[in-house]
Symmetry: none
DNA sequence: TCTTAATCGAGACGGTACGTCTCGTCTTAAT
DNA sequence: ATTAAGACGAGACGTACCGTCTCGATTAAGA
């Protein structure tokens, strides 16, 4: 019944002002106290202009985060995942950068907000995952696939699983605050993921053992 | 100024009714639409009785979840983490149970709700972590410590790190819905964590290699 | 600053559609829920086309009523106030017609709307009175003046006062719904106005008495 | 479905503040720009407290007017309609007072507002008529009935009709602004109503004539 | 016949107010 | 003296219209 608005007539100025206000406010008052009224007021925009283009404050924040990560991409001049040939080093470097990002309040507030919103709103979570998360995971997977082809990983390695073994513990500790988020933590994580944690007497994994080779 | 209420006069009947209502409602309408008014109405309780004892709806839900997990504990007759001597098997068994729990809507709704609330409310998160999460992580750590002493893990193994390597990817996939939550997934996870994923030509971890034995 | 629009280029089609829509809508939803947006939508017209030519929805309705009364004029072939020589009969005939008009929902809705709007908007009321009311009152006054010259009214009769003595009670009863609007009511009104209501023993008006003369 | 609120717990303080604010605001900004939000804000009251007890701003204003007229009643120490025995004098005195009241902005604004609202809202109009108008009309009718019994009015006089012949023209001129509202106007009105306007040669009313005595 | 300038339908915009919902506090009755 | 009930001040929700402001697309002169 309700027809979609004509996006060709959309005001770019208002769109930017809304995204900027949302980012600023979520940092200032937190996600729970973030209101659409406040976003509209700060952006100098009518509420309807937000409701016309976004279904919820979480959706606004998602777009704002997308814009933010887009900027970060161009700002840092990042071309993609590093590939120096040294898998461990490359992974550590990326995970260290992620730790730094998590520590940057500019990114942390919206990231926590979106994670929280996504936890109880599957529809939003789908867009969040698809548009923000998956593109990043895909970079990991590509790098891991390269490594697998170079024989640095077992031939039957599930790159998605390994990706989540790297990103999962990091995200978990960030989200649950079960420990300090440091470069040392991610370095150890990379080593443990690649080398495994089983001892010499082994037995853990069915047909696998780990030996020190010098 | 505000005197703490006299907990000795607290109505146990009301307390239970509130927790039960909160659990029922969070499953029915979701966390976002869960309101204290609705909890009070369903529990046949005055709003003030909730405000007197809990600071927020998240706190109510946390207590409700604690009660729920307490019941589960006694219901299933669980005595703790299994220790059959086979570390991999024990971990797989526990993680499979966790997967099943995540799939049970009875647990999932409050779990997602608390995770979401905790993401943006550090105070709540602290209680959540301390009272629900840490006790469980401690069980992992204890089992891993036993394994380390038995030489099944490297002597310098950081059991907290390994715990998060197991729980982190599982939680991540559950929360972000980046893939199906299956027993196969957790089984592969355990194997990869214990054995590592580096290939024969190695190089990933500094001084570690993985060889297939037998 | 704002230049007046060029009325020679005005779309007659749109003008009619707007007036018709306004009349139809005021009958359907009432004056309070009548909106310019709805008028524009039903007329298949842009909002600006209304705002360009009218200052308010009340003004639209006034023009619509003027058009309507213009039509009624030509429809019924009325040439003016009847003058059969019998003043009482003429007045009764006109007031009966007015009663019938008040009962016609086609006229009643806009009439009530304009009266309501005029009650609190003097500017609108001025136009309403000048363009709709006064022309009608002038007809009464003319007829009464004729009667006065014929000696049917006291020589010093204030025709405006008498006009309002006829139209006032009728309008009052219509507006306030203090009683049924019937031909009997207006007939009695005419008789009472002409003859007065004082009894034989008089005393009411200073130097006036009323006597039955057969 | 929605249960009515418990009026025994109603805050008298809030009720008065709301009525006072409504009266003040309708005088300051007019009925059309009178908003419930503004009433609530000025009264230092939540909007819901208004919506809980009144269905519309017009209803608030009606209650405010009732309170106002109640005060006026006790303030002026009025005991009712004057009865000096001289009907014309009594009527003139009351109508002059009404003219003065209509000229008092304190009364005029709400009176116009209620009339306007009642014109298009029959439900409100019913309450308006019943609670404000009829009690006043009843006073006229009582006085006229007394006069009729005293022979000052024709024995078959319809006191309701005569009441409306007095109040109708006055209200009409006030509402439509068709002429100045003066004491001279109402004095002439009373004389004309009592004595009639037909001339000596008569003929207006069927079997009635007016003669000047003394 | 072809500009060309205004009106037109359409609808996005910054706003205001609506009437509803829920918050967290405060008051009341009764148990 | 504590509870269930619920009125209260506060303020955000999402919607409806306001009156203004672009947009092309007619459209009707005058060049």
């Amino acid at each position: 019944m309700s027809k979609p608005p004509d996006s060709s007539r959309r005001s770019e100025r208002s769109r930017r002002a809304i995204l900027d206000s949302a980012l600023a406010l979520v940092g200032e008052v937190g996600y729970n106290k973030l209101t659409i009224e406040a976003i509209a007021a700060r952006a100098g925009v009518g509420k309807q202009t937000i409701y016309r283009w976004w279904p919820s404050k979480a959706a606004v924040l998602l777009d704002a985060s997308l814009a933010l990560s887009g900027e970060a991409w161009t700002e840092t001049g990042w071309s993609g995942f590093p590939d120096t040939g040294d898998l461990a080093a490359d992974l550590k470097s990326v995970l260290r950068a992620t730790v730094d990002e998590f520590a940057d309040p500019r990114y942390e507030a919206p990231a926590r907000a979106l994670t929280a919103a996504g936890a109880t709103d599957p529809e939003l979570a789908a867009r969040f995952t698809e548009q923000l998360l998956e593109p990043q995971l895909a970079l990991y997977e590509a790098r891991l696939r390269t490594a697998r082809e170079a024989g640095q990983l077992a031939a039957d390695t599930d790159v998605r699983l390994v990706t989540e073994m790297l990103v999962g513990p990091l995200t978990y500790r960030w989200l649950m605050r079960t420990g300090p988020l440091t470069h040392a933590f991610t370095d150890a994580l990379v080593d443990s993921v690649l080398g495994g944690v089983a001892g010499a007497t082994a037995g853990g994994a069915d047909d696998v053992a780990k030996v020190t080779v010098r």
